[in-house]
C-alpha cells in the first residue's frame, strides 16, 4: 500500500467505502506522520491518538457488519483549537484557557462525530484567532512545511500546516478576516470561508461575532466540498444560522465547467502592493479561465480602500466585548494578587497574566472604539463603511458571477519579521477582509509558486451570499486546469520534510 497520508480525502473515502483500507490503517498512518514531522511543524496543540483510533475501530466494525455509514465515516480530521470538544482541552491558543475541558461539543464537532470521523487533534492558532501567522499563539508558532523558517499563515496556521504536511487529510478552520484563506494561500492548500451563517458557530470561541465563520481546510477543492457538505446546515443553537440549505458543494465541484461564466477582476486588489510573483500567477490563471470559456470583466470596489480600517475597529470592538467572559470566575485561569483583593483586582491580574500582547492591544483598541468620545468617528463610521463595501459587492456581482483576486499580497514571510509591527501584520488581510465585512463566501486555492522565492501563492474566489456553490464550481475547474499545466498537484511541489 502506498503512503495513505498522500491520498486526498476523496480518495481515502473511496478506499474506505470499498474496504480496500480500514479506518484504523488510515488513522494510524496520520498519527505516525505526526510522530515523524509533528515536532518540526508544530501544527497541533493537543493530539488524541487513542480516541481517534477508538472511533476508527468502531467505524471499521460497523462497516464489517454492513451497517449504513455516513460517506465520510472513518476519514480522520483535525480541528482548530477554538472549537469546543468534550474529550480534549480547548485553549484557543491562550494561557487563560490552558487545561480547560469544555462540557459540550461545538455543533461542527458533533457533526464530525455523528459522521464517524476520527478527530486526530486540536490545531494551533494565534491567541483567540487574533493574528496572521500563529506567532501570537501562547504555545509557540506553527511552521510552514514549505520552509520551516516561515509562517504558515494565521490565525489557522495549525490547520493549514497540518494538511500541507500530510498529518491530516482535511481540517476545520475559522475565518474572521482571512484566517482560513490566508493560511491556505501561503501553504499551497485550499481554504473556504462559507457564507456567514452557513455553518453553525455554536461552540466556536467567538472572536468577532458579526464576522466569524467556520469552514473547511484541505488540499483540493473536492475535499473541501465534501467537508462543507458535512458541517453546513441550520442549527437552532446559533441564532445567526441560515435556515435554508445552500445545496451540494460536491455536485458543484464535479461540474468542472466555467463556460459562459463572468469572472470579475477587482481592480483595487491587483497591481501595486502585490508581490510580482503573486501578480504574475494571478494573470496566468485569468488567461486559463478565459481559454476555458469564461468571460473576464473588470470591476471596481472603491470602498475597499477603507476595509482594513473598518475591520480593525469592528473586530476589536466586538472582541473586547466577547472576551469579557474571561473573568476568572466560570472557567480558565484565576490569578489572585497578594493581600485580600477584590474581584476586580483578581480579574485584572488574571487577564494581565492570561492574555498575550496582541489580545491586550485589540481589547484596549476595541474599548477605545466603543468609548463615548470615539464611538461616532470610529465604530459608527466603520459600520457605515461596511454598508459601502456591501454596495460595492452588489454592483460588482451585477457584472460578474464570481470575483477573483490574489488571496494575499505576498508569499509567506519569515517568523519574527512582522511581530513588533501590528500594522504591517494587518495588511496581509487586505484582500480577504472585505468578504467577512459583507458576509459573502470566499475560497483560496493554490495558484502556483512565485518565481522570486519559490513559495506558494493563492488565488481568491468570491461569490454572492448563499452562492458558495459557484466557488466550488470555478475552484475545482481552475484546479484541474492548473494540474494539467503543472503536470501534478501543487502540494506535490512541496519539499520533503525531514522525518524523525
Amino acid at each position: 500500500m502506498t503512503d495513505l497520508t498522500r491520498k486526498s480525502a476523496s480518495e481515502l473515502v473511496d478506499l474506505l467505502a470499498s474496504k480496500q483500507v480500514s479506518s484504523v490503517e488510515v488513522t494510524q498512518a496520520h498519527i505516525d506522520r505526526t510522530n515523524a514531522v509533528g515536532g518540526a511543524v508544530h501544527s497541533y496543540l493537543h493530539v488524541s491518538p487513542e480516541s481517534a483510533l477508538a472511533t476508527a475501530a468502531e467505524i471499521d466494525r460497523k462497516r464489517a457488519a454492513g451497517e449504513a455509514l455516513h460517506p465520510l465515516a472513518g476519514l480522520p480530521i483535525a480541528v482548530k483549537d477554538n472549537l469546543t470538544t468534550t474529550d480534549a482541552p480547548t485553549t484557543s491558543g491562550s494561557k487563560i484557557l490552558e487545561g480547560w475541558i469544555p462540557q459540550y461539543d461545538a455543533t461542527v464537532v458533533a457533526k464530525l462525530r455523528a459522521a464517524g470521523m476520527p478527530i486526530l487533534g486540536k490545531t494551533n492558532l494565534d491567541e483567540f484567532a487574533m493574528g496572521s501567522s500563529t506567532e501570537f499563539s501562547a504555545f509557540g508558532p506553527s511552521r510552514n512545511p514549505w520552509d520551516l523558517d516561515r509562517i504558515p499563515g494565521g490565525s489557522g496556521g495549525g490547520s493549514s500546516s497540518v494538511v500541507a504536511s500530510f498529518q491530516a487529510p482535511i481540517a476545520i478552520g475559522s475565518d474572521t478576516g482571512g484566517s482560513i484563506r490566508f493560511p491556505a494561500a501561503v501553504t499551497g492548500t485550499v481554504g473556504t470561508k462559507p457564507t456567514y451563517g452557513a455553518v453553525s458557530r455554536y461552540g466556536l470561541i467567538a472572536l468577532a461575532s458579526s464576522l466569524d465563520q467556520i469552514g473547511p481546510v484541505s488540499r483540493n477543492v473536492l475535499d473541501a466540498a465534501l467537508l462543507q457538505d458535512v458541517i453546513a446546515g441550520y442549527d437552532k443553537h446559533d441564532s445567526t444560522s441560515l435556515p435554508e440549505s445552500l445545496g451540494s458543494m460536491v455536485e458543484a465541484a464535479k461540474k468542472l465547467d466555467v463556460k459562459g461564466m463572468r469572472i470579475g477582476v477587482i481592480k483595487e486588489l491587483t497591481g501595486a502592493g502585490f508581490q510580482p510573483g503573486v501578480q504574475a500567477r494571478f494573470n496566468e490563471s485569468l488567461a486559463l479561465l478565459q481559454a476555458a470559456g469564461a468571460e473576464i470583466v473588470e470591476v471596481s470596489c472603491p470602498s475597499f480602500e477603507y476595509a482594513i480600517a473598518a475591520y480593525y475597529l469592528i473586530l476589536p470592538a466586538e472582541a473586547s466585548s466577547n472576551l469579557a467572559k474571561f473573568d476568572s470566575v466560570r472557567f480558565g485561569l484565576r490569578v489572585t494578587p497578594e493581600g485580600n483583593p477584590t474581584i476586580e483586582r483578581v480579574m485584572a491580574a488574571t487577564r494581565e497574566a492570561g492574555f498575550g500582547p496582541e489580545v491586550k492591544r485589540r481589547i484596549i483598541l476595541g474599548t477605545y472604539a466603543l468609548s463615548s468620545g470615539a464611538y461616532d468617528n470610529y465604530y459608527g463610521a466603520a459600520q457605515k463603511v461596511r454598508t459601502l463595501i456591501q454596495r460595492d459587492f452588489d454592483a460588482a456581482f451585477a457584472k460578474a458571477d464570481v470575483l477573483v483576486s490574489p488571496t494575499a499580497p505576498t508569499t509567506a514571510f519569515k517568523l519574527g519579521e512582522k511581530l513588533e509591527d501590528p500594522l504591517a501584520m494587518y495588511l496581509n488581510d487586505i484582500a480577504t477582509i472585505p468578504a467577512n465585512l459583507a458576509g459573502i463566501p470566499g475560497m483560496s486555492i493554490p495558484n502556483g509558486l512565485a518565481e522570486e522565492d519559490g513559495l506558494p501563492v493563492g488565488i481568491q474566489l468570491l461569490a454572492p451570499a448563499r452562492e458558495d456553490a459557484r466557488l466550488y464550481q470555478v475552484g475545482a475547474a481552475l484546479e484541474k486546469m492548473h494540474e494539467e499545466v503543472w503536470g501534478k498537484r501543487m502540494i506535490d511541489f512541496a519539499p520533503e520534510l525531514e522525518v524523525k
Binding site: 475541558i101 462540557q103 459540550y104 457564507t195 456567514y196 451563517g197 458579526s210 441564532s239 445567526t240 441560515l242 470602498s303 480602500e305 477603507y306 480600517a309 473598518a310 480593525y312 475597529l313 473586547s320 469579557a324 470566575v329 480558565g332 484565576r334 489572585t336 485580600n340 483583593p341 477584590t342 474581584i343 476586580e344 483586582r345 483578581v346 480579574m347 485584572a348 487577564r351 494581565e352 500582547p357 491586550k360 492591544r361 481589547i363 484596549i364 483598541l365 474599548t367 477605545y368 468617528n377 470610529y378 459608527g380 463610521a381 466603520a382 459600520q383 457605515k384 463603511v385 461596511r386 454598508t387 459601502l388 456591501q390 501590528p422 500594522l423 494587518y426 467577512n436 458576509g439 451570499a465
Partner: protein, 98 residues
C-alpha cells in the same frame, strides 16, 4: 496626531480589567497611536447619509417555543471554575473592606 496617550491606555486597560505594566503602557500607547491614526480614515470615507451595517446577512428576530430543553447540570457548569462552594461560583469580595 493620535490622542492615544499613556494615561489613556491605562484608563482603557482599567475599563477592560487588564492590569498593565508601565512597559506595556508605553509600548501600547505608541503602537495604538499608529493604529488609530490609520483606522481614523473611516471617518473620511463616509459622506452623506449612509446607514450603518451591524450584521452582514439581514435577519429578523429569531424565536423558539418557550419550553425547557436539556442544558448543563449544575456540576457541569461549575466544572471549569477555579473555585466553587455549595453549588455556586465562589469569587472574591465585590467591595473593598475599607
Amino acid at each position: 496626531m493620535s490622542e492615544i496617550t499613556p494615561d489613556l491606555v491605562r484608563h482603557l486597560a482599567g475599563l477592560a480589567r487588564i492590569l498593565v505594566t508601565d512597559e506595556e503602557v508605553d509600548k501600547f500607547a505608541s503602537q495604538l497611536s499608529l493604529i488609530v491614526d490609520s483606522v481614523a480614515t473611516v471617518s473620511k470615507a463616509v459622506e452623506g447619509d449612509v446607514p450603518a451595517t451591524s450584521h452582514p446577512i439581514p435577519m429578523a428576530n429569531v424565536f423558539r417555543e418557550d419550553v425547557i430543553e436539556p442544558s448543563l447540570t449544575q456540576g457541569q457548569a461549575l466544572s471549569g471554575a477555579s473555585d466553587s462552594a455549595d453549588g455556586r461560583f465562589r469569587v472574591h469580595a465585590i467591595l473593598d473592606e475599607d
